[in-house]
């Protein structure tokens, strides 16, 4: 019996799916290779052969490989590529916002080598037939590996469980009704029990719909000044408290999505101390922005959960630093222009985030000394671990999952457009420092920044 997805090792890697292609050969010369997980921080030549890290040679010591792409990494940072446990790729049904091709390209442009896609699609991924169809499309369209979440409840209605065991056999990497909470505690309790048979971690969007009902932004001084209905922080933290109790009672693992409030961080810390098998994530926007941004009434700052107070933001940063928050997730949520070019209260919820995640956190947290680079890299690479996907490592013999970053390059978000089909970025127009120039995912080059000059090894 598969008791748990948590810590089950690399066995779930097979659930990730992408376009087939021949493994790449690549030499990155002289970049600063940085991987806190293996204690690596020095300038080396990185040699990728047949999609695997073949050698970490002394600078200038790389052998020549015929036909391999050679990149001058001088002054650049080579990191294990990132893993995002929470994206919305809108397939099936809302391909005008994003599809697997544009979504994975956007992820690769942000330095990601794997992502986990949510199931609040149209129709939602609540049956093996729908799951099979998106996995087939991923085989043709995804440039980096994608894991697909399936729903916990049919039609995301929160009342009847999906055929979780069959969905798991059909390749579901986990389960979630993300976008909506599972309001009925009995239904979640049953899902946590059934998970013992089906396996697969359940990821929870925590929101008490009675408390949040009608709200469009964080409830506080800014909502009072703007006259917009608030979503109180307790609508999130009380649900986390409820679900931690359920998880403890059922001895089941849970993953809490997009923490936004201090009270939520405190609930998770208490639960971890009490032995609840819980992991959780926070987004770059909640870690860098507050509800003050909503004063602009710009719908690009509308997402669920909402941007909260500075005190909440500081608690999230503290949680990320001390490990209460396990990983960074973007909650990349593309929307078409016409869904955002409307009054704030009418606008669709969500922001894109894959292409800006590293740069936003590097600029706002690492450069000012708030968060060590080491911690940021750890939290951005371990997002798959709760779902059984090992974090990438820069070590010989590992599959090449590497992102090459210019840590000094300042760029204006959106100036050259986006790889995503949508452009509802809350960082649009901001100048950020640190730009992904190239991403290698599962042994193949998945992204090259257009302006980044490349040569072929002589």
């Amino acid at each position: 019996m598969n008791v748990s997805a948590n810590g089950s090792g690399g066995g779930d890697a097979a659930r990730l799916i992408s376009r087939q292609g021949s493994p790449g050969n690549l030499i990155v010369r002289g970049a600063r290779l940085f991987d806190p997980r293996v204690g690596l921080d020095e300038a080396r030549d990185l040699i990728v052969r047949d999609g695997e890290i073949a050698e970490l040679a002394e600078p200038g010591g790389a052998p020549e490989i015929e036909g391999a792409e050679a990149v001058d990494g001088e002054g650049l940072l080579a990191l294990p590529a990132f893993v995002d446990p929470h994206v919305h790729f809108r397939v099936p049904g809302q391909e005008h916002k994003e599809d697997l091709e544009t979504g994975t390209r956007s992820a690769a442009a942000g330095g990601y080598c794997a992502v986990i896609a949510m199931a609040n699609t149209s129709p939602p991924i609540d049956s093996a037939a729908v799951l099979g169809s998106v996995r087939e499309r991923a085989e043709r369209e995804a440039s980096i590996p994608v894991g697909f979440i399936a729903n916990v409840t049919r039609e995301m209605a929160g009342t009847e469980l999906t055929e979780m065991a069959e969905l798991r056999e059909a390749g579901a990497i986990g389960f979630s009704d993300d976008g909506l909470p599972i309001a009925n505690a009995r239904v979640l309790g049953r899902a946590l029990q059934y998970q013992r048979l089906a396996g697969g971690l359940i990821a929870l969007h925590e929101e008490d719909p009675d408390l949040s009902s009608g709200g469009v932004m964080h409830e506080g001084e800014v909502s009072a000044a703007l006259g917009m209905a608030g979503v109180p922080a307790v609508s999130e933290s009380t649900m986390i408290a409820r679900d931690c109790s359920l998880a403890l009672y059922e001895d089941a693992p849970i993953h809490v999505q997009h923490l936004s409030a201090r009270a939520s961080v405190e609930e998770v810390a208490r639960a971890k101390a009490a032995g609840v098998r819980i992991s959780c994530e926070a987004t770059p926007h909640h870690l860098t922005l507050t509800d003050e941004a909503v004063r602009s009434l710009d719908a690009r700052f509308k997402m669920n959960p909402p941007l909260r107070s500075e005190d909440d933001r500081q608690a999230l940063i503290g949680g990320l630093r001390d490990g209460t928050i396990d990983c960074v997730a973007t909650d990349h949520a593309p929307h078409a222009a016409e869904e955002k070019e409307v009054p704030f209260e009418e606008a669709a919820w969500g922001v894109t985030g894959l292409e800006t995640a590293f740069a936003a956190l590097y600029t706002d947290l690492v450069l000012p000394g708030v968060l060590p680079l080491e911690t940021l890299v750890e939290r951005m690479t371990c997002g798959g671990e709760p779902f059984g996907i090992e974090a990438p490592r820069l070590e010989v013999g590992a599959a090449a999952n590497v992102t090459l970053i210019d840590p000094e390059l300042a760029w204006t978000v959106g100036e050259e457009g986006y790889e995503s089909r949508s452009y509802n970025s809350c960082f649009g127009g901001c100048e950020l420092t640190g730009r992904v120039l190239m991403t290698v995912a599962a042994g193949r080059v998945a992204f090259r920044q257009r302006s980044f000059a490349l040569g072929v090894a002589p």
Binding site: G227, L297, E338, V342, P343
Partner: protein
């Protein structure tokens, strides 16, 4: 000044200018022929996504008194009903090259969005529960007719503050004019965090005696079903302004329409302290002044149109 989107971005100087202009229009209003040619040949569009009696009629009349051509579009029966987006509606109406678009919307920030989509001046006639700046300006004007200055006045705004754009705009406007404002109502109808705007908050009328002005808000019946207050009866018992609670030297205001017997007792509505009718009268001249300031103001030059005088030589001249 190109747009009037909210009291929040108005300076005291801009407010004073509008109020002085309104004063001169009030003088015109006492003449037999009340129309001036100031905006002849210019078009003003009223775009109303919510029903309105006094705001819409007063904007229509204000534009007509200034000799502008007026078109009023209401959501019922228009292309809005057919699913057209606000952006497309504004593009359509902008094709008539209006000098101003006056918009009322059930959503915060709508006027600000429209300002980004059109060349016209945009006037916020109410956006969701956010702001209603023309109401606040007419309220300040009305008070100044009675008290000269708002400096040092103690003003209580009583009622459903949570759902009131009037409360927000009046709070900001009264403060900018030097008054101290107390917001009073049931705790369920006072938004969390509103004290950050620099006002006092009270949950009962015990301190009302110290107020110079009592500004009552409309209590909407639909709030009962949402557990904001248990009943109109209990609300009226605690918060209704009646002759017992309203002192002889206190002034009474209300943005209308009044629920007689709910927020106000009938006897105070028609009392000498009541400024409610004066508020409606002020609405017309203040909206004339706002249109005048936005469409003929010195920092807005549209020489190709040529109808706007640099100063006010035509004020008071019959058309």
């Amino acid at each position: 000044m190109k747009h009037l989107l909210g009291v929040e971005d108005l300076s005291r100087k801009e407010m004073d200018r509008i109020l002085e202009r309104a004063q001169s229009f009030a003088e015109v209003g006492r003449r037999d022929i009340k129309k001036v040619p100031t905006l002849r040949g210019r078009t003003i569009v009223n775009l109303f996504y919510e029903s309105s009696t006094r705001t819409l009629s007063s904007f229509e009349l204000a534009a007509k008194r200034l000799s502008a051509d007026v078109v009023s579009v209401k959501s019922a029966g228009s292309s809005v009903d057919k699913g057209e987006s606000l952006k497309d509606t504004v593009a359509t109406l902008s094709a008539y090259d209006p000098a101003a678009i006056v918009i009322r919307s059930p959503h915060a920030g709508a006027a600000q969005l429209v300002a980004g989509w059109t060349e016209a001046s945009v006037i916020n006639a109410g956006d969701g529960k956010h702001e209603h700046p023309t109401q606040a300006l007419l309220d300040v004007f009305t008070l100044r007719q009675r008290t000269e200055s708002l400096e040092g006045l103690d003003i209580w705004i009583v009622g459903d503050v949570l759902h009131s754009r009037v409360a927000r705009s009046c709070l900001l406007a009264f403060q900018k004019m030097g008054a101290t404002v107390t917001l009073c109502g049931p705790p369920t109808l006072i938004p969390r965090g509103i004290e950050a705007l620099g006002c006092e908050v009270a949950y009962d009328l015990d301190g009302l005696g110290g107020a110079d002005v009592v500004y009552a808000l409309r209590m909407q019946r639909e709030r009962m079903g949402e557990s904001f207050v248990p009943s109109l009866r209990e609300y009226a018992a605690r918060y209704q302004i009646d002759s017992r609670r309203l002192g002889p030297r206190q002034l009474l205001m209300h943005p209308g329409p009044v629920n007689r017997g709910v927020e106000l007792a009938p006897e105070v509505i028609d009392s000498p302290q009541s400024l409610i009718t004066a508020q409606v009268e002020s609405g017309l001249v203040v909206r004339m002044a706002i249109l005048y300031e936005l469409l003929t103001g010195s920092d807005r030059s549209r020489p190709e149109r040529g109808t706007a005088p640099a100063d006010t030589p035509t004020i008071g001249q019959p058309a």
